[in-house]
């Protein structure tokens, strides 16, 4: 074929191919792919197994991974000296609990606030603090090592900016994600938007999935 004809037919061929491709998508000719449900957060499939850890709960008791078993846990990392982001997120989680309760999806859920600031957030302080947002909320903290080990496995970042002269008035950079732990104590989802309705919708979809 002479060169000039290739230049003539190539664009026509490409255009025809593009139209064909578009039609096949548009008319639904492609077989439906099997996809996990679309949730606003991130679904972790398969759920991520987490190594055992030792935290200290609000009554000063050890808190091991076993406590996560047999129920769904909404988990949030923060610190009580946080003036607005932590309270806002806990308020949203409080509303989520009310929504789930109304829909009878709340019998098997727990809510845990983990303070990454054990130097200032003593267990008792955590109890008072979390109960204010919702009576179902519990608080825990731990040694710097245990907290770091757990947070790292869960993809949670935090950094204590302990540079203040008096060593008390420091702030903590921290991930704002809410995590969902499944009844086998594995990481199942990460919510980066904290609208209670969005998290409730995501949780409903996750409950409908076949067990992993």
């Amino acid at each position: 074929m002479p060169r000039s004809k290739i230049f003539l037919f190539l664009p026509i061929g490409l255009a025809a191919f593009a139209v064909g491709l578009w039609l096949s998508f548009d008319l639904g000719l492609y077989p439906e792919r099997v996809e996990p449900p679309t949730i606003a957060g991130f679904l972790i499939t398969p759920p991520k197994v987490i190594e055992d850890f030792t935290l200290i709960d609000q009554s000063g008791q050890s808190f091991h991974q076993d406590r996560w078993r047999g129920q769904w846990t909404f988990l949030y990392f923060g610190y009580t000296f946080c003036p607005d982001v932590c309270p806002l997120t806990l308020l949203e989680l409080g509303k989520l609990q009310k929504i789930l309760e109304r829909e009878h999806l709340d019998q098997n859920t727990a809510y845990l606030f983990v303070s990454v600031d054990p130097k200032r957030d003593l267990p008792q302080r955590l109890g008072e603090y979390t109960a204010y947002f919702n009576p179902k909320f519990r608080g825990a903290t731990g040694t710097a090592e245990e907290l770091a080990k757990l947070a790292q496995q869960l993809g949670i970042y935090y950094k204590i900016l302990d540079s203040a002269a008096d060593g008390q008035n420091y702030t903590v950079d921290h991930s704002t994600a809410v995590l969902l732990i499944d009844p086998q104590a594995r990481l199942r989802a990460v919510f980066t938007q904290h609208s209670p309705d969005t998290m409730a919708a995501d949780f409903r979809k996750i409950l409908e999935l076949p067990p992993q």
Partner: protein
């Protein structure tokens, strides 16, 4: 004579400015508020909307008050879902665009509250602006379910 009449007239007008807006020079301060303290919370934050009604850009340089041991100007930076709270030296208040201090953003940080903030109560803060000078505002403490933008200023975002 005419001049005196005008002065008198403008003096009469002062009490009729809206109650919400304290006016230090060319800066209007709308709905100063704070959320009540959760138990055991040592810190708090105050929010408000600053409107520059003059022609020149102004800056909020500092805030002070008896409510807390330390009062600072802060902002929040969200990077990869990590929230970083940082002190800022000043908050710009440009003409035309209201500067909104709100949860998750710019705020007046109250470090070491002397007493918990209780819903329904108010506390004074003194704000110092570069051009408009000093002014005092009463900050209203709202309950825990106070919306992030209680004054309907969401459209400024």
């Amino acid at each position: 004579m005419k001049k005196t009449a005008w002065l008198l007239l403008s003096a009469l007008c002062v009490p009729f400015t809206p109650a919400l807006a304290a006016e230090p020079g060319a800066i209007q301060i709308e709905t100063p508020w704070a959320r009540e303290s959760p138990p055991a919370a040592a810190n708090g934050a105050a929010y408000m909307t600053l409107v520059n009604t003059g022609g020149e850009t102004d800056h909020l340089l500092s805030a002070s008050g008896e409510v807390a041991e330390t009062v600072e100007l802060h902002t929040h930076l969200m990077e990869n879902n990590v929230m970083k709270m940082r002190k800022v030296e000043a908050i710009e208040v440009a003409h035309g665009e209201p500067t909104v201090l709100r949860p998750g953003g710019l705020h007046i940080m109250l470090i070491g509250l002397k007493k918990p903030l209780v819903a329904g109560q108010t506390f004074p803060l003194t704000l110092r602006f570069e051009k408009a000078g000093e002014t005092s505002v009463q900050v209203t403490v709202r309950g825990k379910d106070a919306a992030a933008m209680p004054d309907g200023h969401a459209h400024h975002q």
